[in-house]
């Protein structure tokens, strides 16, 4: 059955193969397991990019397929990061506290250790008490469950309220943006329990695995990210390939018609919104240990807008388009903003890419929306076109109102 699914969706097979090749090549060129041509920090960048690809798939499902322009999926991504970050920070601080206390003449009690951890973690925001939300921070399993559960629950409650009231279109986008903004403003507060604007840091160190150098850890995370992206892609491809995909594309194109067919549009939107929030949470949980730090600025609305830009530039309504868009734009973006791009001197003015990159990105977003709505993924169509018979632009349908050849191949 799995074979036939892959056979029916050759693009999935090609994508998974390309992902596998990419992972193997990066591993072979890494410092830890190979020739050492790729620096550890760049391996981390690539691993993070894979996570961005995964959240882009979630965005594409919800926007490209179901037509819900959510500007809140990076909030779910960030929440996933916070959930895993709590465990990483707690455990690592505990190791440090225990080793520093081991010299004391009297062995510390469990309570003293907890107090010391609290003091270490929350001292920066003038507190030493563990807030309630840290109750499970000492359990990896529970925090991993929360990685999926917290974004999923937030998306479910938000979606239930919004979709049930039939909020749609631009109003829904504004509402999701408001949710994102509210969440990030809340997290900026020192008493939010997540260290305010300091965020959680030191996440790149895996507790209990201090012996493993970062070059090795970075490759582990690359593998985990690639695996998650592959599985996420398979799940998404499976969701959109069947009748569920038909229904959500129907919702995108004509919501009322789907309702009159007897499908409860709201339940479909809610289910998809929640599932994609969970996917975004998983992507975030893999991203932030590679980034090493998470703070509320990561959740700011601009991040979710970037996500929409990536998917639009990559190609909406196509899973590989979303991944390509996220990878391409975020890598180019970090090249330009990282100061690696050479400045262009015009004599009277020097173009500094750090300042100008956002304008280039904005212009290319406008350009893609206006002139190439299929995005980068549309280029694959151009390549594939040559294999189809050339009908010299004649109508496919029996009358002039029918789709032209070019449109029909979409």
């Amino acid at each position: 059955m799995k074979n036939s699914f892959l056979m029916r969706n050759p693009s999935t097979l090609i994508f998974l193969a390309a992902l596998a090749v990419f992972t193997i090549v990066v591993t072979a060129l890494s410092e830890a397991f190979g020739l050492g041509l790729i620096s550890t920090s760049f391996v981390k960048t690539l691993g993070k990019t894979l996570c961005l690809g995964l959240v882009a798939i979630a965005m594409d499902l919800v926007w490209g397929y179901a037509g819900i322009l959510s500007l809140g999926h990076f909030a779910f991504f960030g929440l996933g990061g916070y959930m895993i970050g709590m465990w990483l920070m707690y455990e690592r601080t505990r190791d440090i506290v225990i080793s520093s206390m081991s010299d004391a003449p009297i062995p510390p009690t469990a309570e003293e250790i907890t107090d010391a951890i609290g003091h270490q973690i929350f001292g920066v925001v003038g507190s030493s008490e563990f807030p309630l939300i840290w109750a499970f921070a000492d359990s990896l399993v529970l925090q991993l469950v929360l990685v999926v559960l917290v974004p999923g629950a937030l998306a479910f409650v938000f979606g239930w309220l919004a979709f049930r009231s039939r909020v749609a279109g631009v109003y829904l986008s504004i509402l999701t943006q408001a949710m994102t903004l509210a969440l990030s403003l809340y997290l900026f507060q020192n008493d939010s329990g997540l260290r305010g604007n300091n965020g959680l840091s030191g996440l790149q160190n895996l507790p209990g695995l201090e012996a493993a150098p970062q070059s090795v850890v970075s490759i582990w995370f690359l593998w985990a990210s690639a695996l998650a992206l592959g599985l996420g892609y398979l799940l998404a491809a499976w969701i959109v390939s069947g009748k569920f995909g038909s229904v959500i594309r129907g919702i995108r194109d004509d919501e009322a018609r789907v309702r009159f067919l007897g499908y409860s549009v709201e339940s479909y939107k809610l289910a998809l919104f929640t599932v994609t929030a969970c996917i975004a949470g998983i992507a975030g949980a893999l991203y932030y240990p590679q980034a090493g730090i998470i703070n509320p600025a990561e959740i700011a609305p601009i991040a979710s807008i970037y996500l929409a830009v990536w998917v639009a530039i990559g190609g909406r309504g196509r899973l590989y388009g979303a991944v390509i868009g996220a990878g391409f734009v975020s890598l180019v973006s970090s090249w330009f903003t990282g100061g690696q791009a050479p400045d262009i001197s015009l004599g009277f003015y020097t173009i500094k890419w750090v300042d100008w990159w956002l304008i280039v990105l904005g212009l290319s977003f406008v350009f893609v929306t206006l002139f190439a709505p299929k995005g980068i993924a549309g280029l694959f169509d151009l390549a594939a076109h040559r294999r189809w018979p050339n009908r010299h632009g004649a109508d496919l349908g029996p009358d002039a109102g029918a789709l032209r050849e070019r449109e029909a191949n979409e």
Binding site: S246, A256, L261
Partner: protein
């Protein structure tokens, strides 16, 4: 008489304008009915009310043998109860193939999880083929429905309606933009459907209504002006004044 749908004393007001005024209407389980009336008579609003798109201010809408009320049900719920609707403008999912369109409309479980794990059974595929045959789109099954001609889209929509297996079909101007041969075919499909279910056709074209050969309800200013055979209502002086006389 056995009644499938009974609408009684329904009124609806849009910004002070009374679109439907104390309207009453009933139809049996296997009956064809044509609704005619001038523009603004409330024909489309009537369909909107029955399908749940518009909520009436007052009145009763009773459905089926158990006379359950359709008021307050969502559109999707009403559609699942067995009310199918065809719009004036052909609305099919243009981005998807004829096969996908029909499969989506096919009577099956409608919940997200049932649909997610749905695999088309052999009988579903046979049914889709048969429907495509019936609406003359068998050769176009794997084409995107956006490529179809206007008339073919109309048929596809009728096919999707039949696939839903509704007990009541509401059809808004099915013959609009069709060639005479296509009208003939449409008439046949509708008459065939009316043998096993209730069919309500809203139509402007008198010639088409005559061919349907059924009871006619004339709407005017949101209320029923006359009801009976086409010859009966066209002889009615009120009807001549408001509609035919123009």
């Amino acid at each position: 008489m056995n009644t499938l749908l009974e609408v009684s004393g329904v009124s609806v007001t849009f910004d002070g304008f009374r679109a439907i005024n104390n309207l009453s209407f009933r139809i049996g389980p296997a009956e064809m009915r044509a609704i005619i009336g001038p523009n603004g008579a409330g024909k489309t609003t009537f369909m909107d009310i029955v399908t749940g798109k518009t909520k009436p201010d007052q009145g009763r809408i009773l459905w089926g043998e158990k006379s359950i009320s359709l008021r307050g049900m969502s559109e999707a719920r009403i559609a699942r109860e067995g009310v199918g609707r065809k719009f004036q403008k052909p609305t099919v999912f243009e981005d998807q193939t004829v096969h996908e369109n029909l499969l989506m409309a096919l009577r099956n479980k409608r919940g997200p999880f049932a649909v997610l794990f749905y695999k088309p059974a052999a009988k579903d595929l046979v049914r889709v083929e048969a429907l495509a045959e019936e609406i003359g789109l068998h050769d176009a099954l794997w084409r995107k429905s956006g490529e179809l001609s206007h008339g073919q889209k109309q048929w596809l929509e009728i096919g999707m309606l039949l696939a839903q297996e509704p007990r009541l079909l509401l059809v808004d101007e099915p013959a609009a933009g069709m060639t005479p041969a296509e009208r003939e075919h449409t008439t046949n499909i509708l008459t065939e459907a009316a043998k096993t279910r209730a069919v309500v056709v809203v139509e402007h074209d008198m010639e088409f209504v005559r061919r349907l050969n059924c009871k006619v309800t004339v709407l005017h200013e949101g209320a029923v002006l006359a009801e009976g055979s086409l010859d009966h209502v066209t002889a009615n002086q009120d009807v001549i004044d408001v509609y035919l006389g123009r």
